[in-house]
């Protein structure tokens, strides 16, 4: 018997799919939000296709952020890299505090309109949670376990791949999950510089004073965020699993 939460998630997923396949079903619900003869369902592009592009942007940016952040965390937790810890912390912090809109504004003159500035903004914005979590995961390993690994004669590399990373993995995944959720929402502003994301729907709604569009764009992003968040959380639990790491 699946829990209530699981049923709700399943229901949310089904509604989302229904909306993509049969948007007309939802027309009566959204109609009251728009003026007479304005369209209630987004009609300037395929919503499903836009959602896929949105997800792709988030996926690529988060993947890059995860690779860089985790590598950096590994580097600065090695003996040789320890001196770079404060520097890398401040760099990553700047990435987080610099508003993504400002990043877009700065990146457009260099890379032009389109997906690239958005990817850069999301990448920078996503670094911090992953880096901080990876750092926590790699520096709070039980000392007796690490000593046992050294005492068994594992090389530094073997310790990293066989002990440290597997033990830190659930915490690292938590960082990635935070980053994904933030990016899902943040990606919408990419459409201000012509990236193809669900932001398009929201912006179109703002421009034509169409509340139904705004709501559609916002709700799709929100449902995606919840579903992906929960799926990743499930993955973390499964990985930690019986080992209770």
């Amino acid at each position: 018997m699946p829990s209530l939460a699981t049923l709700l998630r399943l229901a949310a997923l089904l509604v989302l799919l229904a909306f993509f396949l049969q948007p007309a079903w939802f027309e009566p619900l959204l109609r009251p939000l728009v003026q007479a003869n304005a369209p209630a369902i987004y009609d300037r592009g395929n919503l499903f296709w836009l959602t896929m592009l949105h997800l792709r942007t988030v996926f690529v940016a988060t993947l890059a952020a995860a690779l860089v952040a985790v590598s950096l965390a590994i580097l600065v937790t090695r003996e040789a890299g320890a001196e770079f810890l404060p520097l890398s912390r401040s760099l990553v912090n700047i990435g987080q505090t610099f508003p993504p809109v400002a990043v877009l504004a700065l990146a457009v003159p260099i890379f032009g309109f389109g997906e690239k500035p958005t990817l850069i903004a999301l990448f920078l914005y996503g670094l911090l949670p992953i880096f901080e979590n990876a750092l926590t995961g790699l520096t709070t390993l039980p000392p007796a376990v690490m000593e046992a690994a050294r005492g068994a004669g594992m090389t530094e590399r073997q310790r990293l791949f066989k002990i440290e990373l597997p033990l830190a993995l659930p915490v690292i995944l938590t960082g990635i999950r935070l980053s994904v959720v933030i990016s899902l929402a943040t990606a919408t502003i990419g459409s201000t510089v012509a990236a193809r994301t669900l932001g398009e729907v929201i912006i179109a709604g703002l421009q034509s004073n169409n509340l139904a569009f705004v709501l559609q764009g916002g709700l799709i992003v929100a449902v995606l965020a919840v579903l992906i968040h929960d799926a990743l959380q499930g993955l973390e639990r499964a990985l930690a699993g019986r080992a209770h790491v």
Binding site: P142, A144, V145, E147, A148, A152, M154, T155, R242, V245
Partner: protein, 312 residues
């Protein structure tokens, strides 16, 4: 053979091990005892270079232990860490197999070894092999930790309070198993403990540490009879001395000619246990039997009491 040659270790301004020189003979058990914080763990961790001495040299079979890469050295030396340190994300079997796999043993050999060790430590392989450490009790975890240290059949074994979490029955069994393993493989063992009973039971030689110094390094009888300092005397436990003296000798060594009534005592039993049986039986003497059942003679209360007295 392990030679500690003028080993000193500083952490910042504090000296935690001070100018220790001692030689551990091959195929013997050396037990390190001393108060908490006296530097026991630090001392033994310098053998497998988990800690590097500030000055001094440690030689293993005549060779400076820094002459081979640290990871290779450590694969040759079994190490049962204080507080087990099992890998939480690996099963019991995977934990035990750690060093054999690093050394590239074949699958079948690793599996056989894991099962042998689990059985030896009274952990049913079919039940425990696939468990994770957190599913085990403290005593079970500790036994797995010791099994892991033994897995690659090292010539040299460092054990840091390996039996602290075990109940008295399993502890006694584990100690006897360790003695049997040591005899069988001729392993050289350095073991740290807070349990003086354990120290006298296992040790060929005992090193007493206090504030980073080794106050005395001697065989158990010598230490009982001639403690080097009042601290050593206090640590051994003055009131326990006669019993410890009896505990390190076998009943077979106290046999007197003559016959006695009652259930025979095995010659391999310690004299202390023999005394205990005499007292409990209420008899002045009991027969002593060899392993094959042949009666060798008797042990008497009077004889044992004489043996328990301070040697002159």
């Amino acid at each position: 053979m392990i030679e500690f040659d003028q080993i000193t270790k500083h952490y910042g301004d504090t000296e935690v091990v001070s100018d220790v020189s001692l030689t551990v003979e091959p195929h013997t058990i050396t037990v390190v005892v001393g108060t908490s914080g006296s530097g026991k763990t630090t001392l033994i961790r310098m053998v497998n270079r988990l800690v590097e001495p500030t000055s001094g040299v440690i030689r293993i079979d005549g060779e400076d232990n820094r002459s081979i890469p640290a990871f290779e050295l450590r694969r040759r030396i079994g190490y049962a860490i204080q507080g087990h340190g099992l890998f939480p994300h690996r099963t019991v079997a995977q934990n035990i197999a750690t060093v054999p796999i690093l050394l590239g043993w074949g699958k079948a050999r690793v599996k056989a070894k894991v099962e042998e060790l689990l059985t030896l430590f009274q952990l049913d392989p079919s039940f425990f092999a696939e468990r994770y450490p957190h599913e085990l009790s403290g005593g079970q975890q500790q036994r797995v930790g010791v099994a892991r240290a033994l897995a690659a059949e090292p010539n040299l074994l460092l054990m840091d309070e390996p039996f602290g979490a075990l109940d008295p029955i399993i502890r006694a069994k584990a100690q006897d198993d360790l003695l049997a393993i040591q005899k069988h493989f001729g392993t050289t063992i350095i073991l740290v403990t807070h349990d003086m009973e354990e120290a006298f039971h296992l040790a060929d030689r005992i090193a007493v540490m206090d504030k980073g110094e080794v106050l005395q390094y001697a065989n158990p009888a010598e230490m009982l009879v001639r403690p080097a300092t009042p601290f050593v005397e206090a640590l051994i436990g003055a009131s326990e001395r006669p019993f410890r003296l009896l505990a390190i000798e076998r009943a077979g060594d106290a046999v007197e000619p003559g016959a006695a009534e009652g259930t025979p005592i095995p010659a391999s039993l310690s004299q202390r246990d023999a005394l205990s049986q005499l007292l409990w039986s209420g008899r002045p003497a009991l027969p002593v039997a060899a392993a094959d059942g042949a009666i060798l003679g008797k042990v008497s209360l009077e004889g044992l009491v004489k043996r328990a007295a301070r040697p002159r």
